[in-house]
């Protein structure tokens, strides 16, 4: 398993203890076999980014960890507890929060209801005043319909609502997709601040420039496998390879 070795090497450079351990993760959409044995680790307090082209399996990896994909195999351990067979509501209650690529803002709920929707699963979530400190726009638009917000505000709302829950491990799927540069910058500041607050973040990104401003480590996903991994300090030495992987 060469990719297991790739996955384990950079993880040693990180600061905290191992919080997520993914081994030989496979996933299927109906008959389509999407993930072919994903291996990687995330340590407490780091920001790890999954990079890769469209259709490589990055989002499916997040969904498989979250228990949203019906058919999956292998092993996913969160805080040393096996969760591969757990349902998504149980996984959420263990302290993993997921912010989907399409943001998942509910049209029938106003901003306040969207924000308060995810239940608090454990202590340690951000109080509302801290959330409004991070995202002041939301405070002004609490009574607006969720889907009437701009794309950037919807993304902020999607991140804000999972910060309340007390989940310490956040999975953000392409949080910058389709957003203006100024909003992307704001999301970057937010992720950096969340890291300082002690959150562990698994990020899926196609925007490599953005990822490089927040990530501690990177894994490259291709055809449903991790094909490479390196830390931020090794980034400069790996730029050529990365351009080849991402086709940029």
């Amino acid at each position: 398993m060469p990719d297991t070795a790739i996955a384990e090497a950079p993880a040693k450079a990180a600061t905290g203890g191992n919080i997520l351990q993914v081994r030989n993760l496979e996933a299927w959409y109906g008959e389509s076999h999407i993930l072919h044995g994903i291996n990687f680790d995330v340590n407490a307090g780091e920001v790890v980014t999954l990079l890769g082209r469209n259709g490589a399996g990055k989002t499916t990896t997040l969904k498989s960890i979250m228990g949203i994909i019906g058919k999956r195999a292998g092993s996913v351990k969160f805080n040393n507890q096996e969760i591969i067979r757990a349902t998504s509501d149980k996984i959420a209650r263990m302290g993993i929060a997921f912010c989907p690529e399409e943001r998942g803002i509910f049209a029938s709920l106003d901003v306040r209801e969207n924000l308060m929707l995810p239940p608090v699963v454990r202590e340690g979530g951000l109080p509302l005043d801290q959330i409004f400190d991070l995202f002041p726009n939301l405070k002004e638009r609490l009574n607006s319909q969720g889907t009437k917000l701009s794309g950037g505000e919807q993304q902020m709302l999607a991140i804000a609502r999972i910060l309340r829950t007390g989940a310490s491990f956040l999975m953000l799927d392409e949080p910058t997709e389709g957003l203006a540069p100024v909003i992307i910058q704001q999301i970057g500041h937010t992720i950096a601040r969340l890291k300082k607050e002690g959150f562990t973040i698994l990020l899926v990104e196609q925007n490599f420039r953005f990822a490089s401003t927040v990530a501690d480590r990177y894994y490259v996903v291709e055809h449903g496998k991790i094909i490479d991994g390196f830390s931020n300090s090794e980034l400069a030495a790996n730029m050529d390879k990365l351009h080849t992987y991402l086709g940029v």
């Binding site: 228990g67 998504s88 509501d89 929060a97 509910f106 049209a107 029938s108 929707l117 239940p119 829950t165």
Partner: protein, 287 residues
């Protein structure tokens, strides 16, 4: 004029049943995406449970108002757990056929044991008699049905539109996968929602028992009109179901006064007109 007011009252009473039943259907359709053709049979079961409670257990109308919805609601939840939940993701047609089959079986069983004629269920002593309002005579029980139905409908609307539980329900209607990924047990919530919708039907059955007697086909006679109400109000719309339920009851009552020949068809004519002008119903949203 007396006859007009009397028909208005009949319309309001019918509207109460339409509103309670279509509200249950709207809740179930919104959450489970199932067109619950068994709703009429479950309404009938509510009336029969009240009848059994009184005649076998000596439990009066007031307790039946509470117990019958719970008992029939539990029966509904068993149906959801053992059959309906397997229809998730399938075409509406499967749910419609399955619930239609359930309705036929339930009605058939009751018809087998109790025949087609009605069984009497007395109006409770506290609600006997009537009041002379000057312009009309108002039987107290009928006034109670209208007021109580309205209160239950508004309470259900409040539960769904204004509470955290209601926010879960509305969100799960849009994206159950994501709501579950937030840590909410959506399958359990779906079962309870079906139980709530069925409980509302059973409650309407208990309210109806003293007025219409208890008959195995009492739901079958009503359910087609109730579906028309739901379509006019907008599938899945809570307030739409309540307003349309009462409004169509009144329109039906007025038609009985002004042009009796059309009273059985006016609801369906309105349904056709609404579908032509606004296919999603008066308050429904496009998918």
């Amino acid at each position: 004029m007396q006859a007009l007011y009397a028909q208005l009252l009949v319309g309001l009473i019918n509207g109460s049943f339409y509103a309670l039943l279509s509200l249950g259907l709207a809740v179930i359709f919104g959450m489970l995406n199932i067109i619950n053709f068994a709703h009429g049979a479950l309404y009938m079961m509510g009336a029969f449970v009240a009848y059994f409670l009184l005649n076998l257990g000596g439990i009066n109308y007031w307790f039946a108002l509470l117990l019958a919805p719970i008992i029939v609601g539990i029966f509904g939840m068993i149906l959801e757990r053992t059959m309906l939940k397997f229809l998730t993701g399938l075409d509406h047609l499967y749910g419609l056929l399955l619930t239609f089959g359930i309705a036929l079986i339930v009605q058939g069983v009751f018809q087998n044991y109790f025949g087609s004629s009605g069984l009497p269920y007395a109006i409770p002593d506290q609600l006997r008699g009537g009041m002379n309002l000057g312009f009309m005579f108002l039987p107290i029980y009928r006034g109670w049905v209208v007021v109580f139905s309205l209160v239950v409908c508004l309470a259900t609307w409040y539960l769904i539109e204004k509470t955290q539980l209601g926010a879960y329900l509305r969100a799960a209607t849009e994206n159950p996968t994501l709501v579950r990924a937030f840590g909410i047990n959506v399958p359990r919530m779906i079962t309870l929602t079906y139980g709530l919708g069925v409980g509302l039907a059973a409650l309407a059955g208990v309210l109806s028992a003293p007025i219409n007697q208890v008959r195995p086909l009492m739901g079958a006679d009503l359910i087609i009109v109730v579906f028309a109400v739901v379509v006019i109000g907008g599938m899945g719309s809570i307030m739409g179901s309540i307003i349309t339920g009462f409004a169509l009851g009144v329109i039906e009552g007025l038609t009985k006064y002004f042009y009796p020949e059309a009273s059985n068809t006016v609801v369906f004519v309105l349904m056709v007109l609404v579908l032509l002008v606004k296919p999603t119903g008066l308050t429904g949203r496009a998918a």
